[in-house]
Symmetry: C2
Subunit: 136 residues, 2 copies
Amino acid sequence: MLSKKAQYAFHALTYLVEKEGEGPVQISNIAQEKGISLKFLEIILLELKRGGILGSKKGKGGGYYLIKSPKEVPLSKVIRLIDGPIALLPCVSLNFYEPCEHCTEDGCGLNGVMAEVRDATLLILERKTLADIVKG
Amino acid sequence: MLSKKAQYAFHALTYLVEKEGEGPVQISNIAQEKGISLKFLEIILLELKRGGILGSKKGKGGGYYLIKSPKEVPLSKVIRLIDGPIALLPCVSLNFYEPCEHCTEDGCGLNGVMAEVRDATLLILERKTLADIVKG
DNA sequence: GTAATACCCCATAGAAATACTAGGGTAAAC
DNA sequence: GTTTACCCTAGTATTTCTATGGGGTATTAC
């Protein structure tokens, strides 16, 4: 399951997509509009900025904005940034790989299936972008 | 990600599949062989029993055993039993559905994609069974 | 240049989930 | 009736989740 944090991230991002071209959007604006705690949202947006998805501008008229086209931001990137691994097992994770202590060298039988699940999931999450989750 | 508990469950189940036909297997046997804490494993096996996957026999010569053929136990059943929902969002979960407060009536844009992910995942996890995760 | 704005950073904290641990109870087999 | 081995309740340490609070700093408008 996605954490609340990741869900909030998506809600904030879709809002920013909708507001694209209107200049920076303030945290307080997003928080109020989407019903998210302001301080918690602050942390989330900061992470999205550090992850290269958002840019920010300080001072009057400042706020957050997308630094890429929505079509260039796959959903997988957001999930990995906020929640971490997409795979169901650390030993089949592409970006957060860790060996299992319980798997023998030739791997336990789970690996194969979980790698399949990972691939099927990524096939969707890598292709779908922020542009796809904004209602027409 | 699967919890350690779920991973232990799979390790224990594969062991039971390998020992099928040899009568009940004791918890202590599985725990030692798979390197799992005995008391923690006890809890896990009990949940698998309550979930209708395992049977147990008390007293001397007792232990746990599969009550169905390994081919009849899909991996999805084990995951749902131990970890809960397979879907990434509660609002697209088939077995643990909960409405999202942030989604409007016609749904947020995420729903569609996450339902796709769920279907792709289930297509694998419903078809693959305990028989598939035991090494030939 | 100064005051207002709005992001930035650090510390803390309650609640829940995770991953166990301890100890005794109970049914079955011999 | 004693041993075996599952069954049940309770507790606990650690981590993660979900925030909250207060102050610092860069930018802009005037």
